[in-house]
């Protein structure tokens, strides 16, 4: 079982992460998720800035990965989250889960994203044609935790 967590301004490469996850001989299934900066419906998005709480963020992500390892039999969990200024369509977050069979990998990947959205101290500020705005937390993200509790 291995955990890899990174909070970084640099972009990440899906192929490299996938290759790393594949190295574990116990691995028979890999599920990956990547989240991107998407356009807005009502105005033009020039980009966004991701702020975080250094130290606490890494601890929170490690805790979420450990909780996933305690719930499911997993070979590896990788979480990468970017911070700083990002342009539209750039990658924000990567979650990769390797396990013996697909069911555990699918479930753990969703579990990790649901908890990351609610527990990891990141904040998004959108830079738009009409000004800069902090993104409000969504009730639907909080409700998503109910299925794991």
């Amino acid at each position: 079982m291995s955990i890899f967590v990174a909070v970084q301004s640099d972009d990440f490469c899906l192929a490299s992460e996938y290759h790393e996850l594949r190295r574990n001989p116990a691995c028979g299934a890999i599920v990956t998720f990547s989240g991107l900066v998407r356009e807005l419906h009502d105005t033009v998005l020039h980009g966004m800035t991701l702020e975080h709480y250094p130290g606490m963020t890494e601890q929170a992500l490690n805790r979420i990965a450990t909780d996933a390892l305690n719930h499911w039999q997993l070979a590896a969990v990788h979480i990468i989250h970017r911070v700083g200024r990002l342009k539209p369509n750039e990658q924000i977050v990567f979650v990769g889960v390797a396990s013996a069979h697909r069911a555990a990998a699918f479930a753990a990947c969703e579990f990790i994203m649901d908890y990351l959205k609610n527990r990891a101290p990141f904040w998004k500020k959108e830079h738009t044609a009409t000004g800069d705005y902090w993104v409000e937390a969504k009730a639907s993200d909080q409700q998503a935790l109910a299925r794991w509790e």
């Binding site: 959205k117 990891a120 101290p121 990141f122 993104v135 409000e136 937390a137």
Partner: protein, 83 residues
């Protein structure tokens, strides 16, 4: 001293990133620290009374009933929006 950090929209609205509070060796609960901060001015009163405010002591999420003491790092921030 207790080191108090503010993040994101809260940091901007308070115009404050870090605040040092003397606790004279006493253990306090987070709620009482919060009320001391609220009493600084009307803006802080309003911003630190938001019901969705989150709080961490030494980088762990905690409820307002948690206690803090000399040397602790306390942080207040809005609901998180990563991912």
């Amino acid at each position: 001293m207790i080191k108090i950090l503010f993040f994101a929209a809260l940091r901007e609205r308070l115009d404050c990133e870090q605040y040092l509070l003397s606790c004279e060796g006493n253990t306090l609960d987070v709620a009482s620290v919060l009320s001391q901060l609220q009493s600084r001015c009307q803006n802080w009163q309003q911003e630190l009374s938001r019901t969705d405010l989150l709080c961490a002591v030494n980088q762990q999420l905690v409820p307002l009933t948690a206690s803090v003491q000399d040397g602790d790092e306390l942080a207040f921030f809005p609901p998180v929006t990563g991912g």
